[in-house]
């Protein structure tokens, strides 16, 4: 009897592995597992055995039945999933049309936002001011009275019929507006669009973007200015960034400095971008001139502070390797879509 069950199991296994489609599988089921199938026959045969024999054969008969049913279910499910695969196969590598398009933020905005986040985290307000500015705020209040030679340093767009109005040449007028509005102490930045009347080429743009910073309180020192400028440089360009300050004349600060960073492109070795000096001019700044504090309504005997700036356009060009400043305002989607 044992042998019969073994033989049946073997025959079943052979038939099952040969069954490659649904119909054959069904005939295997009928032949072996059906109500009148071969397993049922053998099981019926058990009735004719003696009590002892039945007890001896019974468990292994049941085991064989369970194993056959299980094997069949497995084969059936395999066949089903193979069929689904064949019927419903798709090329998952193919693109989906229309592809979901993604938008793009202008590179200068990206840099500006990165810097705004840094300064906000340090407690700076982010402020704004008019781009078409009065001569007073753009020059006079910044210690550049009419006839001041420093006005020549900044080729200025003037407004027809309004000699007292200019397209602002710098974001610095926001300093004065902010001091007047918020008083001291103050920590602020003012990012924005500026204008200089110069012919455009790959390195010069008459429209460009700056970010201006101002910190005023009692006891703010040159050393603090250096500390903040360095913190910003490190945040932007990494922990190995070095800052060096050199004297530079700006009428609205005294002392005035220009800050240079070791060139991150060549790590100070000297390259085309840093003109082989290993240093990049990146941050002008200085201690706010007493006359500027006065124009802002603050007492220079009580308060002192520093201001600094970055060229956002320049930083964006450096960071993304943009080699032509005219691209910024080109509106060319082939450029804009890279950011």
């Amino acid at each position: 009897m044992h042998q019969k069950f073994d033989e049946l199991k073997k025959a079943f296994d052979a038939a099952l592995s040969a069954a490659q489609d649904k119909d054959i599988l069904e005939s295997v089921r009928t032949e072996f597992l059906g109500r009148k199938g071969r397993l049922a026959d053998l099981m019926t045969g058990l009735k004719d055995l003696s009590e002892d024999e039945r007890r001896a054969v019974g468990p292994s008969a049941n085991e064989a039945k369970r194993a056959m049913e299980e094997a069949f279910a497995r084969a059936e499910s395999e066949l089903r999933s193979r069929a689904v695969r064949e019927e419903e196969w798709i090329d998952v590598t193919a693109p989906v049309f229309p592809e979901e398009s993604i938008g793009h933020i202008h590179p200068v905005t990206l840099i500006q936002q990165k810097l705004e986040d840094l300064f906000i985290s340090m407690g700076f307000m982010v402020l704004d001011g008019p781009e078409l500015e009065s001569d007073y705020y753009n020059f006079t209040a910044l210690n550049m009275p009419p006839d001041h030679p420093a006005r020549d340093m900044q080729d200025t767009f003037y407004i027809k019929g309004h000699p007292d109005q200019v397209m602002r040449t710098q974001t610095s007028p926001v300093q004065i507006r902010a001091m007047r509005k918020y008083g001291a102490p103050i920590r602020m930045i003012a990012p924005g669009r500026c204008f200089r009347n110069e012919a455009t080429d790959a390195r010069h743009e008459h429209t460009f973007y700056q970010l201006e910073g101002l910190v005023i309180d009692k006891g703010i020192t040159f050393s603090h200015m250096k500390g903040v400028m360095e913190a910003v440089a490190v945040h932007l360009f990494g922990p190995d960034t070095k800052l060096r300050l050199m004297p530079k004349f700006y009428p609205f600060v005294e002392p005035g400095v220009r800050g240079e960073l070791n060139c991150f492109l060549c790590a100070g070795e000297g390259c085309r971008v840093c003109k082989n000096t290993g240093w990049l001019e990146a941050m002008p700044g200085g201690m706010v001139h007493p006359r500027v504090l006065e124009a802002g309504g603050l007492d220079p005997n009580t308060y002192q502070g520093f201001a600094f700036g970055f060229g956002l356009s320049r930083l964006a060009m450096l960071k993304y390797g943009i080699d032509d400043s005219r691209l910024m305002q080109s509106g060319d989607v082939r450029f804009l879509a890279q950011f």
């Binding site: 398009s101 202008h106 982010v126 407004i159 020192t221």
Partner: protein, 816 residues
């Protein structure tokens, strides 16, 4: 400005072990930027003296010669050369293989390589004058330099022969704006002495011993414009070339030698920083033609006066230009350029030498107005120390007497004017210095720095009274902070430690407009796949004309870069449309946005700071544009974008047919955008003809949302509403109405008629076949719900009936 190291060394000791690079670095770190160091010898590297041993015909070329040259390289070299004046025995300049030469004096440097010219090998090049920088302009074409007169054996480096052993520092003029004292070797010498702690070797030329042969009368009409006018007559002048050493100096710093008189004035200017002018005294006229009398007047020009400057250009002058006149005519444009009519020439024998001081703003204005910048104006603009006039005049006389045989002083030294310098004193204390810098600088160090820079110090209790030297008193130094800079920069900014300020832990007040701008950008780019563009704030008249915009309503620049874009944008539309035109050939879909200002002159904006009329109004505006090849209804996509963005910002926008149309707007496809009933912007398709005029091939929709207006409305506050406890019932409704019935009107009427209607969604609009002319079919999904019960079918039927009634009665709708 170019600074010669040799010249500098006449005024200051430079330590032996100080490299040129280190000197440049020290100057850059503490004073002004040195942009370049150039060794005069460097460009002549591997160029040596050679002797032509033989000159033979070239087998394959008529115009070439094959030379055998002893260039001190052991074996003679074979060099092929096209020079026309080659003779055996001649000494020439030979560029050996590896030298870098400017071919024919033009273009980039080219490295000399071993080469074959018409099949004959050539081991170098024989140079022409313009290839080694000694051209005088008198050389013939294809003529090489003849060095036969020089006593130098073959192989001697050319730099040595020519005495080109100087090093020249190029200092950035722009970083010198506030330092007129540094526009000279003497001034730079003093500064470098202070920097290095080495001695400044000043030189005081002798006082001029005056004569009375000539009389000089000077009248200055405006002392403020010309605080000092000095002059003297020199006779017995013979116009020759200046000595070689002087020419070398001048050439080293980029000044072309002319003749002894002109060269001396230039030399003194470069040495002392004071500009001088030499007139041919014979060409100066006086009233009665009296002999030996010079009559000079310094006064503003007459309006429309014409004057030919030394550069042979006739210029029209006006009352803002200061001129030097003799009794009859203008002879110089004061502080800018001399005149053609009194120029030193070959025949000059008597010279009137002027050494004057002019007010910077007069010079600046004239120089700017005429676009005429000279070495003189460059210096006067910065504000020169009037004391220099005397020093420079003495130095020039000293040089001329020394270098021109027979030259003699022939008049008294005239000195007219009045000036007063504000030389302080400024109270100065170490305590305040430390408070400014955040570092303790030892008192001896600080005092030492100021003294070396020429400041006078007088102890005043704990503090000092500091007197400003005259050469720093014209503009540069006037307040305590200026002294702080002097001490700090020489002490070294690198020695001041960086520290972070301690401030109150106060969160920054956000600027709502900045916040809004930032959100708009990220929503449009990240959710609506739009691309941010930046456009100029300036607009072109052509584009305005194509759009039918009235240019008179635009602010105009007084001095635009080009005539192309003189108008200041009062709308972002023109430039956005230009973006579409530019991009249409590269891309099928243009979906751009811009956040920028618009400038509206008739609405007052921010105050101008000193009580004048306010600035033009400058709103923050979001501009949007959409065009897609083949899309005949771009308005729809732009509205999706705009409405979506506004909803994401927390506003509920309404789009209404627009009544006040700009002339470029499509009358059937323009919508005003309102929020809480107030207009905040518009969307419009561009009239097809206007778009075509602009060169745009596709249909294009464009719009603006005024963010400044929008910011005034409260955005939706996020509040939780309980999830409705009872289910809603959905029904569809389709009907036909006149084409011009607006959806907004329908929706409002439906909500009014059936309060249980909670949502309406338009899922189909159709006009055309099967629908009568002038009509359209609309199909809606409707959702009904009550808050207190599940609606029965009868109740919803009743709602539907009220809707049908109101649609039929108010909109003559036909149900389908």
């Amino acid at each position: 400005m170019l600074v010669s190291k040799k010249w500098l060394q006449e005024f200051v000791e430079l330590p032996e072990d100080l490299s040129d690079e280190e000197l440049a670095r020290r100057i850059t770190l503490s004073t002004v930027e040195v942009e370049e160091i150039s060794s005069q010898a460097a460009p002549l590297e591997r160029i040596v003296v050679g002797v032509l041993l033989a000159v033979e015909a070239h087998p394959n070329a008529d115009k070439l010669r094959v030379c055998r040259v002893d260039a001190g390289q052991g074996e003679p070299l074979q060099i092929v050369c096209g020079g026309t004046n080659l003779l055996a025995g001649m000494k020439v300049a030979v560029a050996l293989v590896g030298a870098r030469v400017k071919w024919h004096g033009e273009g980039e440097l080219v490295e000399i390589k071993l080469t074959k010219l018409r099949d004959v090998e050539s081991f170098g090049m024989i140079c022409a004058a313009n290839e080694i920088g000694t051209a005088t302009g008198n050389e013939g074409e294809r003529e090489i330099v003849d060095l036969s007169g020089w006593d130098a054996p073959p192989g001697t480096p050319l730099a040595e022969v020519l005495g080109l052993d100087d090093v020249v520092f190029d200092v950035d003029n722009k970083s010198l704006t506030n330092r007129p004292d540094l526009f000279s070797h003497r001034g730079m010498g003093r500064e470098v002495g202070a920097l290095l702690g080495t001695t400044f070797k000043d030189r005081r030329p002798p006082v001029v011993s005056e004569e009375t042969e000539y009389e000089v009368l000077v009248n200055v009409t405006d002392i403020a414009a010309c605080p000092r006018y000095m002059g003297v007559v020199l006779d017995g002048i013979r116009i020759e070339t200046s000595p070689e050493w002087m020419q070398k100096r001048l050439r080293a710093v980029g000044v072309r030698p002319v003749n002894i008189v002109v060269d001396v004035t230039n030399y003194v200017m470069l040495e002392i920083g004071q500009s001088l002018h030499a007139f041919d005294a014979a060409k100066l006229e006086n009233v009665l033609s009296k002999p030996r009398t010079i009559e000079i007047e310094v006064r503003p020009a007459v309006s429309g006066e014409r004057f030919v400057t030394l550069d042979d250009t006739e210029r029209e002058l006006g009352p803002s230009d200061l001129v030097i006149r003799d009794a009859k005519k203008a002879v110089a444009l004061a502080g800018v350029m001399g005149g053609h009519n009194s120029e030193i020439g070959e025949e000059t024998t008597t010279v009137f030498l002027e050494s004057a001081n002019f007010h910077p703003s007069w010079i600046r204005k004239t120089s700017q107005r005429l676009g005429l910048r000279s070495e003189a104006s460059l210096r006067y603009e910065k504000g020169l120390d009037p004391n220099l006039s005397d020093l420079a005049l003495r130095r020039a006389v000293e040089l001329l007497l020394e270098l021109v045989p027979g030259a003699r002083v022939a008049s008294p030294v005239v000195d007219v004017g009045r000036f007063e310098l504000k030389q302080g004193p400024i109270p100065f204390s170490l305590e305040r210095l430390d408070q400014k810098l955040g570092v303790n600088i030892p008192v001896d160090t600080a005092i030492g720095i100021l003294e070396r820079l020429g400041f006078g110090l007088k102890q005043d209790g704990e503090a000092y009274l500091v007197t400003i030297p005259s050469w720093r008193a014209t503009k540069d130094i006037s307040i305590f902070e200026d002294l702080v800079e002097e001490v700090a920069r020489i002490y070294g900014y690198e020695r001041i430690p960086p520290t972070l300020p301690r401030m109150d832990l106060r969160p920054p007040t956000p600027d709502p407009m900045r916040v809004l701008e930032r959100r708009v950008r990220s929503i449009l780019a990240e959710r609506f796949a739009a691309t941010e563009t930046y456009n100029y704030s300036f607009t072109s008249p052509a584009t305005l004309a194509y759009l039918g915009e009235d240019a008179a309503r635009y602010i105009q620049l007084a001095n635009p870069i080009s005539k192309e874009r003189p108008y200041v944008a009062r709308t972002l539309v023109p430039n956005l449309l230009e973006n579409v035109e530019k991009n249409q050939r590269q891309t099928d879909t243009v979906r751009l946005f811009e956040v920028a200002r618009t400038y509206v002159p008739e609405i007052p904006g921010d105050e101008n700071g000193e009580g004048g009329s306010p600035l033009p109004h400058q709103d923050h505006v979001l501009g949007l544009v959409f065009a897609k090849k083949g899309d005949i209804f771009p308005f729809r996509e732009l509205k999706r974008l705009c409405a979506g963005a506004l909803r994401a910002l927390g506003y509920t926008p309404t789009f209404l047919p627009m009544s006040d149309l700009a002339s470029w707007m499509h009358p059937g496809r323009s919508a005003a955008i309102t929020v809480d009933g107030e207009a905040v912007g518009y969307l419009a398709e561009v009239l097809p003809q206007r778009a075509t005029d602009l060169g745009i091939e596709a249909k294009v929709a464009v719009g603006e949302v005024n963010l400044s207006l929008l910011a005034a409305f409260p955005a939706r506050e996020l509040t939780y509403h309980p999830i409705p406890p009872f289910p809603s019932v959905k029904r569809d409704l389709a009907f036909v109405v006149n084409k011009d019935v607006t959806y907004t009107d329908l929706e409002l009427a439906m909500h009014a008629a059936a309060p249980l209607l909670v949502d309406v969604e338009l899922f189909d609009t159709y006009a055309g076949k099967g629908i009568p002319e002038g009509k359209k079919s609309l199909a809606l999904h409707l959702e009904f719900r009550a808050d207190d019960q599940t609606l029965s079918s009868e109740e919803v039927d009743a709602c539907m009936e009220s809707l049908r009634q109101v649609l039929t009665a108010r909109f003559s709708a036909t149900m389908r």
